[in-house]
């Protein structure tokens, strides 16, 4: 079984090498795709160099202009569709916040419970300071968790987590259509309301090792309004029939 780890990277020259290095502990069968989202720093050169040094097969896709996190992640899903041989696609941040040791557990849980979306949650277990984000963000995350629960009936604790493992039914659909900015809560809600199987795994997260968060203070208000509206708009759309995914082609 081949699985793809998608790393969206915008101005992550500093953190990217360490992030890829931590992934080298994973067993064979995992492949990495770095999606350089029109970075202005040396992320492109750094990613190209990593291709030669990575033990796991490492691919790079360079978007010529900055398109945002949603487009970068969707590029990964489209890569997986074009390849046709992957089973699970794992979204993993370039900034070092995510712990590579949990990737196997995420995939295992997705396989065991036949999940379409398995989200790494910071809020199921307390892993100590640095893992749980700031107070204001926690309030925002709780708000989205409540909104998603209210509108889909699915209980989640960390809807904004970008550490997630997607099964083929989810990533094949997202390759076709995926929210553009701040996509995580929307994507989770879409899965929940269309009766895809969603689960969560407690994970530890770290402080970011470099780069700049895509959600800064001035954008927070916009983020809250935009994502809330997107969830409400999505609710008034019809339910989609998501067909079972074809079996991955053997490599």
């Amino acid at each position: 079984m081949r699985n793809l780890i998608v790393i969206p990277a915008f101005n992550e020259e500093e953190a990217l090498p360490k992030t890829v290095e931590r992934l080298q502990r994973l067993p064979a069968g995992f492949e990495i795709l770095v999606v350089n989202d029109g970075s202005k720093d040396r992320t492109k050169d750094v990613a190209n160099r990593l291709v030669a040094t990575s033990r796991l097969p490492l691919h790079v896709a360079h978007l010529p202009v900055n398109c945002g996190i949603g487009v970068a992640v969707q590029t990964g899903y489209r890569f997986a569709v074009a390849d046709g041989g992957y089973r699970y696609v794992i979204q993993f941040d370039a900034d070092g916040q995510h712990d590579a040791d949990y990737i196997n557990a995420l995939v295992d849980l997705a396989v065991r419970d036949d999940l379409d979306l398995c989200v790494g949650s910071r809020f199921i277990h307390d892993f100590g300071p640095g893992s749980r984000s700031t107070f204001l963000r926690r309030v925002g995350i709780r708000f989205f968790a409540g909104l998603i629960g209210l509108m889909s009936g699915v209980k989640v604790t960390d809807p904004t987590s970008g550490f997630r493992c997607l099964g083929p039914r989810a990533w094949r659909r997202f390759a076709d259509s995926y929210p553009e900015d701040y996509p995580e809560p929307e994507a989770l809600f879409w899965c929940a309301r269309n009766r895809l199987k969603v689960g969560e795994l407690p994970v530890r997260m770290f402080e970011r090792q470099g780069g700049v968060s895509s959600i800064r203070k001035l954008k927070s208000a916009y983020y809250m309004v935009k994502v809330s509206l997107a969830i409400v708009f999505d609710r008034i759309r019809g339910t989609e029939v998501v067909m079972p995914a074809p079996q991955p082609a053997t490599a």
């Binding site: 896709a61 360079h62 074009a82 390849d83």
Partner: protein, 128 residues
């Protein structure tokens, strides 16, 4: 003497001339020109037959300027809205093209890498 009717007539002629010029130099697609020609025609007709607009204003219990303002704002709103729709569509196309380009670039890199290593590997990559 300049009055509202004369200004509408002038505006209608100007709108016609502008639309035809931009279509002629191929910087405005015919599908958008149709809408602008309709606006120009409306302006010309209201300039030529002011009584029609005055009659509508009377029946709607509005003053003449208020009706003209309302109609103009309505047109501006509709136009802006459909420009937003067109922008959204074009954004999606741009994103798709950008992604496709990045993925093809990566495929080309892998092919070149395989070709440098072993020409037969490149053929296998191409066949995948």
């Amino acid at each position: 003497m300049i009055n509202a009717e004369f200004l509408m007539l002038l505006g209608g002629c100007g709108a016609f001339a502008m639309t035809l010029y931009w279509v002629r130099v191929r910087e405005l697609r015919e599908r958008y020109a149709i809408g602008w020609l309709a606006v120009a025609t409306l302006l010309l007709l209201t300039g030529l037959f002011p009584d029609v607009l005055k009659g509508i204003a009377d029946r709607a219990h509005l003053s003449y300027p208020a009706l003209v303002l309302f109609a103009a704002l309505g047109l501006i709103y509709l136009n802006s809205f459909f420009v937003s729709v067109a922008l959204t569509k074009h954004y999606r196309w741009n994103v798709r093209l950008t992604q496709q380009m990045a993925l093809l670039e990566e495929r080309l890199r892998r092919l070149e890498e395989a070709k440098t290593a072993k020409p037969e590997d490149a053929e296998a990559t191409l066949a995948d």
